[in-house]
Point group: C2
Amino acid sequence: METDDSHSSDSLSFFNDHLQESSKRKSGSRIILALDIPHRKETRNLLNDSIGVLDKVSDYVCAVKINFHLIIPLSLGELSKLNQEAHSKSLLSIADIKLNDIANTNEVATSYLWDCGFDGVIVNPFVGFKGGLDVVYETAHSLGKGVITLSYMSHPGADEGYGLEMKNGSSTYEIMLHRAIEWGSDGVILGATRSDKIRHARSVLPKDIKIISPGSGAQGGDPVASLKAGADYLVYGRSIVSAVEARESARQIFETLKTPPA
Amino acid sequence: METDDSHSSDSLSFFNDHLQESSKRKSGSRIILALDIPHRKETRNLLNDSIGVLDKVSDYVCAVKINFHLIIPLSLGELSKLNQEAHSKSLLSIADIKLNDIANTNEVATSYLWDCGFDGVIVNPFVGFKGGLDVVYETAHSLGKGVITLSYMSHPGADEGYGLEMKNGSSTYEIMLHRAIEWGSDGVILGATRSDKIRHARSVLPKDIKIISPGSGAQGGDPVASLKAGADYLVYGRSIVSAVEARESARQIFETLKTPPA
């Protein structure tokens, strides 16, 4: 994404500045497309079909989130082409690998992600900073890339991880949220199935840390409640990608969310 | 890997039976090679160079662990070739993506991993079972594949996740260990930098759940102490892969570990 000097912002996050700029170019869309193309036995056309979905829906979304649906089967060269297509449509591209490894692996993994043009990465702060995610924050921010941390996921079993109660009276969720502030995350992931957590997080997080909320579509979360609670961006995957008419589905979701919540 | 009917075992785990069989074929080697080829700007020869390392060291290792160093840059077809090479050398192949996503993504990710011939996958039990890892255990075990869960990682910051103290007096480590039993993991990951944890885990886990311990090489853990404490397999990466003489390095590590600990 190009830097737009006319775009003034108090943000310290290049990633968030670009995401906001992209959102403006897409008529204020706050939809991030999860490009979750279903598993297939024959992957020869996977890149072209992925680009095809981007072509159809790019008017209604501000970014694309790419996860193992594509990162496992596609080569680095194919991922580069996909990210070039996303950028040519003014979309930011986020690699959702929920990274939680030792520093050496994290460094190599994110080096390849930056090489092929991703603008941000989603990581799991459970793994810790020292000899873990420290290197990701350092290198990502030196390159103007974004680091997004999980705070509370959207699936039923998320309680089993993010809902654990700590000895000191807090919860794993609160620890993850605190790390986003302490470590300098550009955004956090909070499931749209948990608008109470979104409301709490918005009251705790500085405005510079954006709330990205998946789970409004196939998973049944309430997108309007999520936005009211303070979500900045909503992630939609299967309800667009697997729709008979992907463009029409994206347009409908965009129109529904267009009217700002009261 | 072929099933060997002559190999009798009380194990309920096809994966562990195959791993044990592979170890026998490699003169009892309990070394798992982490095929962590360093990041490179030009990835054209990455597959061939990876196979080259396998060629050199396969006599001294019983399995290969493949992570983002290769899974991000290589295509599904290339990963298939790599796993075919591993199998042709009687090596099991483990995908180390520390998976921690919602069920839909976990299902697609592991489908691709099985498609290209991986025998097992490493997952992070922090994500939870319901609508998370449930589908991974179901499908993996129906296909005879292994599921290995993180219990305590090897890096300095592992305490920040696995060492959290719970309200009920236990720790996140103990919760992760309990999940390995409850969910039916084939193995657990316990860093060689924490032999006290290995000793504790071995006293708690049924023998059917193998302890796989990384961190003996570049990270400075004590391999002999890990084996004495109850580790079943040790993971070596950089100290073999990045050695000037990879085969000689693997042979030396093999010889050091060959003498069973007193």
